[in-house]
Amino acid sequence: MTKRHGLLIAILGIASFAPGNAKAQASQEALEILRLYATPIGALPAISLPMPAGRNHSNLIARIQTGYRKGPSGTSLPATAAGLDLQYRGGSVFGVTAGYQKRDCKIVESCGWHPMFGARAQVNIITGGSTLAKLLRDNSTTSTFGAEVGAGYAPHLTDSTRVCSLDMGLPFSIAKRREQPRLVAYITPGIVWDTNCGSSGIPPDHSYFTGLGFGFQQIAGRSLDVYFGFQKVYRVHTGYEIGVSVTYVKLPK
């Protein structure tokens, strides 16, 4: 082998190796983003604090949510979930969620859907509205400020990757209108931590996020609500998430 041949082989070797490294690099970054999307906080739309109810009783709330966003490769990642919440004494909510999200086939080995689970507590701290009612010149205004904490788990993001997430937020919502339905607008700034949950792989990371949306809430003992949510996680190369949530509150007869 001449010097020229040696140089050529070296160049070809480097050239063939370099894209591989770059691909691994890209796939690691993509996996990290997928991890962020894999649990309910990343896959499902933000939802409003529950409408206050009489303190006399605790209510069960059934919830269906569907979210849509694009994965790092541009593939659609729809997600669907169902949840059950307990509204304690007409205020704070404690709930669980289970659902599925489509896998990003261009990044992970296997296609199909992966399951996800979550638990969430939303605590109503202040529910009032006098001040905002004066500002908005609408006597029907009710505002709620609260705190929320959620945990998520996706056991099969890939065949070897589990995902855990923990998030905290400060939700705020304003509802107004005297007649059916009440209109509500809400925003939840927060922070989310995502890890591989003990499985090997990418180190843990955290990001800030903002969830917001609007919805229609029923009153007068009727209890079917619809929310249209939007979410943005502030991490490089992450997109937007949109979705719809429908809740039904079972009130005592």
């Binding site: 206050p52 009489g54 529910t127 006098s130 006597n139 005297r178 007068a220």
Partner: protein
């Protein structure tokens, strides 16, 4: 030639129709029948419900009491005015000779004078009437009962239940059965009976008597139970409204919905209403106007905005039909001959102008 059905378009149309139908059902609201459309001769009884009216401005006339008087004066013979407690702020009627006595008399006098001659006036006691929940409470209630009788000057105005008794006291007028309760009796931490008392002694007995009064009513009659404390509220006493609401939830005061004693009282009433729900449970206590769907009664009503200077916040609850905050006012229930009962709320802005006009048939005609 093959024809491809426009699937996408038809799906869109279907989705649009479903969305429209859903939205219209969501938007469907109770047709508001204006009170003015009622034929006066069709009205059998009109019940005026006003609470927490014991804080009138000593300089200016009360818009609320003036309006109440004017409306009841139209047909006093069929009007019943129910004051839902807290008739004298801050601490009920003190002993004669105390500096506060004359002012307490002024407050009560304004309310008694708002009952036109020929109408019936009923004063239900509230926690402030029990000397602001102090040991003098039982004696203050007796003083107020006597003072109302004196101020009425022979008119049909009285305190019910009187003498510090919990009730129930039944007032029948046509289709109306009004049951008056003194709910502070359940919550008072001091003496609630002595040798002058002549009433039921235990919560169980009161519950039993109330159950009987509610159940032994013929079909077609309208049962209204009136007590000072609400069974449900979106106001401060429900742990809502500002940061204080948050702390009230934690402190479990007996005057608040989440308090232990309050729960005993509410359970007692709920137990009495279990087999047959009254149409309305009317209360005051929170200084706003609310109408809610209730599990205990068909309608839970809070009408505690009788004093312009004491109006407070209220939030819309899931059960709410109507909520008015920071506005003085009262409610009236027109019971029609044969069938039908129309509730109308009167809220007054600071200028004295009428606020949002709310009315709802609680019993359809």
């Amino acid at each position: 030639m093959t024809f491809k059905p426009p699937r996408l378009r038809s799906i869109r149309w279907s989705a649009g129709i479903v969305a429209l139908v859903s939205l219209s059902s969501l938007m469907a609201c109770n047709k508001r029948p204006p009170l003015e459309h009622l034929v006066p001769s069709d009205i059998e009884t009109t019940v005026f419900l006003i609470g927490d009216a014991g804080e009138q401005d000593p300089r200016n006339p009360s818009v609320v009491l003036d309006s109440l008087f004017a409306q009841a004066s139209v047909a006093p013979d069929r009007s019943v005015i129910v004051y839902l407690g807290d008739n004298v702020y801050p601490d009920g009627i003190p002993e004669e000779g105390r500096a506060q006595y004359a002012d307490a008399r002024r407050r009560l006098s304004a309310e008694v004078n708002a009952v036109p001659r020929g109408a019936r006036g009923i004063f239900v006691p509230g926690n402030h009437d029990w000397a602001g929940e102090t040991a003098f409470g039982l004696y203050s209630i007796r003083l107020q009962g006597r003072m109302i009788t004196n101020l009425a000057k022979g008119n049909n105005v009285q305190m019910l239940p009187e003498n510090g008794c919990p009730g129930p006291v039944v007032v029948d007028a046509g289709r109306l059965r009004l049951i008056a309760l003194d709910t502070q009796w359940w919550l008072h931490d001091f003496i609630v009976r002595d040798s002058l008392s002549n009433c039921i002694n235990t919560i169980g007995e009161v519950t039993g008597a109330l159950r009987q009064d509610v159940e032994q009513v013929a079909d077609g009659r309208i049962v209204v139970v009136a007590g000072h404390h609400p069974l449900m509220t979106g106001g401060q006493h429900g742990g809502y409204c500002g940061l204080s609401g948050f702390f009230r939830r934690l402190s479990s005061l007996s005057q608040d919905i989440l308090g232990g004693q309050n729960r005993t009282m509410r359970d007692s009433l709920a137990s009495a209403f279990k087999k047959k729900k009254p149409l309305v449970y009317a209360s005051g206590h929170d200084h706003n106007l609310q109408l809610m769907r209730g599990p205990e009664a068909q309608y839970l009503l809070v009408s505690g905005a009788g004093s312009s200077d004491k109006t407070e916040c209220a939030v819309y609850l899931r059960e709410s039909y109507y909520t008015s905050q920071h506005r003085a006012g009262f409610m009236r229930l027109d019971i029609m001959k044969g069938k039908g009962a129309l509730l109308t709320s009167f809220e007054f802005l600071g200028s004295g102008a009428r606020g949002y006009p709310f009315s709802r048939w609680l019993e359809l005609r």
